[in-house]
Symmetry: C2
Subunit: 194 residues, 2 copies
DNA sequence: CCTACCGATCGGTAGG
DNA sequence: CCTACCGATCGGTAGG
């Protein structure tokens, strides 16, 4: 049985499910696959969890909560929306990198949630993105950012940073915070030397 | 029966399948769903196509070919890698926008291909990205681009532009070429006014 | 956590 | 393009 020390059986089921959902996709991952990973029979899973979708719900809402918490930790910076944007992006990347498996499932599999969970998460995502859109809009008013549709700009930025989960390895030379800073700088200032 | 004028029955099956795969994901989309969309019985699909995966293969390789063709149309520009990068990104976005349904399936569902198709497409993707990586590397040598890992830079750029398929609507004010230009400019020069 | 099993649904075939 | 159907697999339950 694959089992990490210090976490409950239920937590371990969820952890292995997260890896499996990431690898095969939620719809293609079967409860029998998951059971095999854990060295038990499929039926035995149901003493730890209520359903396959309950696992997906747990992963998605835990991650959504983590993004919101990071948001609340941001210091209020007045009249410097470049700095505010940078701080936001850095926090976002830090949450992404804290667990790339759950981040990947959150980003790619959440559409498989049933109602009312789907709509609830959709609303949470909208509210999160709105915070970033506000920053961009205020930065434009401030004369800092170029004139682009705020929503499209912000979502393009997010899709750019979200991609980091596909190549980040904890063994690399940059730690998550340094990497987050480098990514945010590149989005804001582009890639030209001058 | 939903049927566009001027295309064969097989083409129509593939077209509706593309929309369905995009909406529900390849694994979650059933052949019975597809048949219902077309107003026929599931068994009747098999007089037009050999298997569900054959449809996915068709979508993915047709799209991969389109990206490669656009690549071959690029004019050779010497000693101006900023321009070369811009041209590459513009062409890429134009192919994406030529059919956002097939682009979405290509980008998100290709991992469901079986061997040897999976490996073949993977190789095509690698070769395509290598062309872009070369441009970035040469731009660095030229002193134009800032010093970043070429592969990571390029893949972050692509994930940023790939996201355009999620919000582009043909009814908008910008045509595909204009939109592609605006996106490429933003990636290269960032969002700051000065 | 197991054995035994359920109804539903899957991709696909035979034969017309 | 249909009816009729197949074996495989799915998520999940009963009862211990």
């Amino acid at each position: 049985m694959i089992r990490d020390a210090g976490i409950s059986k239920r937590d371990n089921v969820i952890k292995q499910a997260t890896r499996l959902f990431r690898e095969k996709g939620y719809a293609s991952a079967s409860m029998r696959d998951l059971a095999k990973k854990l060295g038990i029979e499929a039926a035995s899973l149901y003493s730890h969890i209520k359903s396959k979708e309950e696992i997906l719900q747990h992963i998605c809402f835990e991650k959504a909560d983590a993004f919101n918490e990071k948001l609340n930790e941001l210091e209020e910076i007045k009249n410097n929306n470049e700095k505010r944007l940078e701080q936001f992006l850095i926090g976002h990347v830090e949450v992404l990198l804290s667990d790339t498996d759950s981040s990947a499932v959150f980003l790619n599999e959440w559409k498989h949630l049933s109602e009312p969970h789907y709509s609830r998460l959709n609303k949470m995502k909208d509210e999160y993105e709105s915070k970033l859109i506000d920053i961009y809009r205020e930065g434009k008013v401030e004369g800092k950012f170029i004139d682009l549709n705020e929503k499209l700009s912000v979502l393009t930025m997010l899709s750019s940073v979200n991609w980091v989960i596909n190549w980040y390895r904890p063994t690399g030379t940059l730690n998550p915070h340094e990497l987050a800073k480098a990514l945010a700088h590149r989005i804001i200032h582009g890639i030209m030397t001058k």
